[in-house]
Amino acid sequence: MGGVFLSERIRWGRSTVETFLERSGTVTDEQALLARARSLDPEALSELHERYYRMVYFYVLGRVGERAVAEDVTAEVFLRLLEAFHRGRGPDRHLAAWLFRTADHLVAEHHRAHYRHPEVPLEEDWGGSKAAEEEGDVVTRERVREALNHLTPDQRAVILMRFWMDLPLARIAQELGKSVGAVKLLQHRALAALAKRLKDMRNDDGGA
């Protein structure tokens, strides 16, 4: 197993990780990009939006469960980033962590507003029209979303980046400003918590 793990690390190190980092940018590139974006450079802002939009979208969708809401909240997250840059604030590194925190605030605001003024969503889930989906899948996604909401923000960010965005551990560590070991630990704990929560929900639903 150790040999397999070692070869795996080598494979990741030589191909996947390096290729991905070259494509997505290193820490230095991220700081340079943020420095340009801080001065509201259109090219830098465009690149920044392209690089992080899907990441934020998946993160928000994992919390709100509705595509339209997720799209609105994601767009709002980027507008908040602009406002922060305009006021001379905002991150100078680890942008993903900042975006996720801002998304958490906006999702909380959305939940509060939704609680005060309930609306009937046109789409109930993130998979498309309800008619086209099997009932079991809808139930599973709803359980997953609910279980995700019980994770810590770091755990949620790690497993969504890993299992929905297919990002390697090194990139996740870079984006969140953590070590690879810390990300592995967060991943393990997140999956364990998720498994327990899903099991509890199955038991509550009578083993469905």
Binding site: L45, E71, A75, R145, K184, L185, H188, L191, A192, L198
Partner: protein
């Protein structure tokens, strides 16, 4: 702990590479719940966001950025516009700095210094801007006090020291009195002991002002003749009414008196600016090296032929005020008949041969610089 996370990572890799959940859980049974949760999570992966939504977000994002950039431009324009006036601002700042430096330096200047004119100009402006009569009087008093300090400092700088003599008060016109035939300026700071009035006998201690005038430091009335009420202007009344003896003197009385105290007759003074009975004031000498104390009391040696009329002494030429020279604290009158040798200047050590007049003043016969 690290081993457990690495094992999980290995199990997840196997799943990604196509192994079934049963195969992996068979190999890692302790990870079965976690791997099942991972499978559920992957199965619940939502589809990617719609391109329409992403483009809409991008458009709104860039439009908002453009609006914020536009809102920044006015500030940039203000900044750039302000930079256009930077040279003018810098020039004004430099001028203010220079003016401040001139002001500070001018405050310590004395008559004859390059910046003294600046000081006097500032005072004139100050006076002109003071319209309230009471305040104006205070300003004038302040300026008079400044002049006094300046004159004293100047006398110290020149090393002219003080000169003293006795004579009758002949005139008290404004701030200029005439005592023993010598005009003397009276300042508010002048210490006047006793009731000063015309015809009263007084001992004067004075120093030489910047324009050659003698400025009285102290006037002590020594005549005991009661006088009605003379009121010279420019002199504080309270100082004139002081009794002569108890007032502390700022200048010690000169102990060596080389000449007998002969009082000049006020109305019959032969020389218009004559000085009367100069006596040295050794304690007020500011430059002891130039006017050393031991040598400051040369007892005038009288020549055998002119034992009563002519005396000689040596000392430092302390000041030249018109035809009156002050040598070693004594005023001596220089006339066209005076033989002057060696081009003596203030500060030089000279040898004097002078004739004593009937009124006690001295007329120089010969002044020679000592080399």
């Amino acid at each position: 702990m690290a081993e457990r996370e690495d094992v999980l990572e290995e199990a997840l890799r196997m799943l990604r590479e196509g192994a079934t959940l049963e195969e992996v859980t068979t190999r890692y049974p302790e990870l079965a719940p976690v791997l099942r949760a991972a499978r559920i999570l992957e199965a619940a992966r939502p589809p990617a966001p719609s391109l329409r939504a992403e483009l809409a977000s991008r458009t709104a994002f860039l439009q908002r950025a453009e609006a914020l950039r536009s809102s920044r431009r006015p500030w940039a324009m203000v900044l750039l516009g302000g930079l256009r006036y930077a040279p003018v601002g810098a020039a004004i700042a430099v001028m203010l700095l220079i003016a401040g430096l001139l002001h500070v330096l001018a405050q310590g200047s004395l008559p004859g210094d390059p910046l003294y004119g600046v000081k006097r100009m500032e005072e004139q402006v100050w006076l002109a801007l003071t319209l309230d009569p009471v305040e104006r009087r205070l300003v004038e008093e302040t300026m008079a006090a400044r002049r006094w300090e300046e004159y004293r400092a100047l006398a110290q700088r020149r090393g002219s020291g003080t000169v003293s003599w006795e004579g009758r008060i002949e005139a008290m016109e404004g701030t200029t009195w005439r005592i023993g035939g010598v005009p003397v300026e009276i300042f508010p700071e002048t210490e006047i002991l006793g009731p000063a009035a015309p015809d009263q006998k007084a001992r004067v201690t004075a120093f030489l002002g910047p324009e050659g005038q003698l400025i009285a430091v102290r006037i002590q009335v020594i005549s005991e003749t009661p006088v009605p009420t003379p009121e010279p202007t420019g002199t504080p009344a309270e100082t004139r009414t002081e009794p002569p003896t108890p007032v502390p003197t700022r200048i010690p009385r000169p102990t060596p008196t080389p000449l007998p105290t002969a009082t000049p007759v006020p109305t019959a003074t032969p020389l218009p600016p004559a000085t009367a009975m100069p006596t040295p004031a050794p304690a007020k000498t500011q430059e002891p090296t130039r006017t050393p104390q031991p040598t400051r009391t040369p007892e005038p040696t009288r020549t055998p032929k002119e034992e009563e009329e002519t005396i000689e002494w040596k000392g430092v030429l302390q000041a030249i005020s018109g035809s009156t020279w002050i040598i070693d604290g004594r005023a001596v009158q220089v006339t066209g008949d005076t033989e002057i040798r060696g081009d003596p200047r203030v500060g030089d050590r000279v040898e004097v041969k002078a004739r004593r007049q009937a009124d006690g003043t001295f007329v120089a016969l010969k002044i020679e610089r000592e080399d």
